[in-house]
């Protein structure tokens, strides 16, 4: 007997998408001075969603000047208790308009509506709610008796969790008393532009948050702008290195949340059904386009065959396709460019001798798609074991002893996250100590919470987002000596 799923599409009627968007500067939408625009598309259909302004140098100047004015005249003078109430408003408004944001996020990003509805949007709202409460308690946060903001924060965010990354950046920045110029990713600007409308409803003073859309060039103009005091970047390690080198010597405060190649370690005593679910969540959540994805499965040799068999069986039941369908597990890859990278690295996996398995599933004709893929017979030297693929591709390696597992897990320049699956508590604690990663998930994976610090070791970046630690990035006292 087999069960078929009837389509269960979410309605896109809940959100109005304008045909074109300007830049959100000083509380209002303005046209870019150079008049340049780019198109943002639905990666599941390749349909053009809107024309979006590309901010050039004069536009970035205006945005930074607006943020400076708002900082000097309004935001830095406002009591923390008042800043808090604005942030609470934003949190509430996000929750009220959550369906609208979820649909828009899925249309622009390609992620399943189930994820944008259940993870991205509620976690974003929770982030604002959490940091709202810090705004009037900063002197109790452990950063000295008189913590001060930096001033103007330049924030550059990625396309994998557009609204959630916006919340991770803007909420602590405003709570600490900074003003913001945010640059959303080129391929996913729409939820940030809808957020601008939410700020109108919140009556946030003009200039406190400015949103400049564009590609890498706009981001580079922003982080190199002399009027910026603090830079927060989430994205790839190569770009993070470039930004760190560019701002060197400028005394701009910098935090970086970069790439990863996380090991997800499964011992022979692990609860195997839960481990399989955890592996799936670890690498196929958001199509694997997650910096902390569990992209290297390290499985103890004695259970490797059984685990991989079960994993393949489970992957065969994943529903890949229309992100707007509420039953969909795996949606579209965000862009043609990203699909090309995933395809290229997967080909490198085959070329270097690993064994490829891909879930049998029908992929839509239009749009950017990549079926869940598993590589076995992977050698630690293979590119698919070393490089961040940022897609639904899992590399399986094996180990015999806990020491070997630790050595293999740490054998990477990255250090963002790691997973451990075992029933033995003492082993979890010992391994958690030895893994060089900023987040260790034991018998779970890909959990996020506003109260919980997140960020990397080594080339995965520095600084933390979330929790009390996340405030440090936005306070001068959090880093200065």
């Amino acid at each position: 007997m087999s069960f078929e799923y009837a389509p269960a599409p979410e309605s896109r009627a809940v959100v109005d998408i304008a045909s074109s968007y300007g830049l959100f500067i000083d509380g209002t939408f303005v046209e870019p001075e150079g008049g340049k625009t780019f198109k943002t598309v639905n990666p599941a259909t390749e349909e053009v969603l809107a024309d979006v302004a590309e901010a050039g140098e004069p536009d970035v100047d205006r945005a930074v000047a607006a943020a400076r004015r708002a900082y000097d005249k309004v935001w830095s003078r406002m009591p923390g208790s008042e800043r808090a109430k604005y942030l609470y408003r934003i949190a509430r408004l996000l929750a009220e308009r959550s369906r609208e944001f979820a649909v828009l996020e899925t249309l622009d990003n390609g992620k399943p509506i189930r994820e944008s509805r259940d993870v991205d949007v509620p976690t974003a709202a929770a982030h604002f709610f959490y940091y709202a409460g810090w705004a009037d308690k900063l002197e109790h946060a452990g950063f000295g008796p008189n913590p001060r903001p930096h001033g103007v924060a330049a924030q550059v965010i990625p396309w994998n969790f557009p609204l959630l990354m916006l919340a991770w950046k803007i909420a602590p920045a405003l709570a600490a008393g900074n003003t913001v110029v945010l640059k959303p990713a080129e391929t996913t600007p729409l939820s940030a532009l809808l957020f601008a409308d939410l700020l109108r409803q919140a009556e946030l003073p003009p200039g406190v948050v400015n949103i400049v859309t564009g590609a890498r060039e706009t981001g580079s103009l922003l982080v190199n702008h002399p009027g910026v005091d603090k830079i927060a970047f989430t994205g790839s390690t190569p770009v993070g290195k470039r930004i760190a080198a560019e701002v060197a010597g400028s005394r701009k405060s910098l935090t970086l949340e970069l790439g990863g190649k996380a090991a997800n370690i499964v011992f022979d005593d692990a609860p195997i059904d839960q481990a399989v679910e955890g592996i799936v969540n670890g690498i196929y959540f958001n199509q694997g386009q997650v910096c902390c994805a569990g992209s290297r499965l390290l499985v103890q040799e004695s259970i490797a065959d059984e685990l991989v068999d079960r994993l393949k069986r489970r992957l065969s039941t994943l529903r890949v396709g229309d992100p707007m369908d509420k039953n969909t597990d795996v949606g579209a890859i965000n862009s043609a460019q990203q699909l090309e990278r995933i395809t290229m690295l997967s080909q490198a996996g085959e070329d270097e001798g690993a064994t490829r398995w891909t879930a049998a599933c029908e992929l839509p004709e239009k749009g950017y798609w990549f079926a869940p893929t598993v590589f076995t017979d992977v050698h630690p030297a293979h590119r698919i074991a070393r490089e961040e693929i940022f897609g639904p591709v899992l590399s399986v390696l094996t180990f015999r002893t806990p020491a070997e597992a630790v050595a293999k897990a740490n054998n990477t320049p990255y250090g963002l996250s790691a997973g451990i699956w075992t029933e033995k508590g003492s082993r979890i604690l010992a391994l958690a100590d030895q893994l060089r990663a900023g987040v260790v998930w034991a018998n779970t994976f890909n959990r996020f919470d506003p109260t919980s610090p997140f960020g990397g070791y080594k080339e995965s970046g520095y600084g933390r987002e979330g929790g009390r630690h996340g405030l440090a990035a936005y306070l001068a006292e959090g880093s200065a000596l």
Binding site: K241, L256, A432, G438, S452, H469
Partner: protein, 292 residues
């Protein structure tokens, strides 16, 4: 009868618990503030710097793996031995920095007290900087500070012992290991400190000390791919060194960078918190489900 001729010390490098000369065979003359000859110090090379990083990396897991209580005891022991060498340090600091004996005594006393202050942090910093996080779900969620790894310390140029102690001790507290580039013109207290460390319980390789030209040693260390962090404090007043260029080099491996101030800090001031310790830590967050 003529006065007895003193037996002078050969100042060498301190790498992996040993006292080698520079592999380059080079030395440079160290003078007192008034120009009098003090000693020939080893002029460390880029290769010496690389050797020091290797020694620091080798020692790091063991030092980080010691209990916080043990690290505290080991570091406190260093203070005990510093006290025993007090008069030697006073002499070297007074000659090198060109200050009166009384001022040198105050600097040495402050350095010893500073070391004691930091030794006491080893088993407290996780309680101050860590947190139990009240996540919205059935999970245990804990954040703790951990050492970042191998740290390069460019020691202050003026304050040859107090300044050095003020930047080195906080690096060691959480379990980092250090490669120190000493004050270029006032390297002697750093080498005497290494003799203290060698006879203390600090494991070999935990602290490695290079004397020589900051401008020669800092760039290869800033760009070294197996260094986790760099403290640029000692670029202030260092000849031919631009800290921004070093920071740019450090970006190549996403090093944690402590920037220098515009001028050398007044090291006699007590630190206003554990910031220097925390600058060389990583926050690790561990999740585990709760369930019956």
């Amino acid at each position: 009868m003529s006065a007895r001729l003193d037996v002078r010390k050969t100042y060498k490098l301190f790498i992996g618990g040993k006292f080698p000369r520079s592999e380059s065979g080079r030395t440079y003359e160290v003078s007192a503030d008034d120009g009098a000859f003090l000693a020939n110090a080893a002029l460390a090379s880029r290769k010496d710097a690389r050797e020091a990083v290797v020694a620091a990396r080798k020692a790091q897991p063991g030092w980080a793996g010691a209990t916080a209580y043990n690290r505290g005891q080991v570091l406190y022991r260093v203070a005990e031995l510093l006290e025993g060498r007090r008069s030697q340090f006073v002499e070297e600091v007074a000659a090198g920095e060109g200050i009166k004996t009384k001022a040198a005594e105050a600097a040495v006393d402050a350095a010893i007290d500073r070391w004691v202050w930091y030794a006491g942090w080893t088993d407290k910093v996780a309680q101050v900087a860590g947190s139990a996080n009240p996540v919205a779900g059935p999970y245990f969620n804990l954040s703790v500070p951990e050492p970042t790894g191998v740290v390069v310390v460019l020691a202050p140029q003026s304050s040859s012992l107090l300044g050095l102690v003020s930047v080195l001790a906080p690096v060691l507290v959480t379990g980092n290991t250090a490669v120190v580039v000493s004050s270029e013109k006032r390297p002697l207290p750093a080498i005497t400190l290494s003799e203290v460390l060698a006879t203390s319980d600090v494991p070999s390789g935990v602290v490695n000390i290079l004397t020589g030209r900051t401008a020669e040693l800092a760039p290869p260390l800033a760009s070294h791919m197996d260094v986790n962090a760099i403290d640029l404090t000692g670029t202030v007043g260092a000849e031919g060194v631009a800290w921004g260029e070093l920071e740019a080099e450090a970006a190549g491996s996403v090093k944690r960078v402590v920037r220098p101030r515009d001028s050398e800090p007044d090291w006699s001031q007590l630190p206003d918190g554990p910031r220097r310790i925390l600058a060389f830590t990583e926050t690790k967050t561990v999740w585990h489900p709760k369930g019956m």
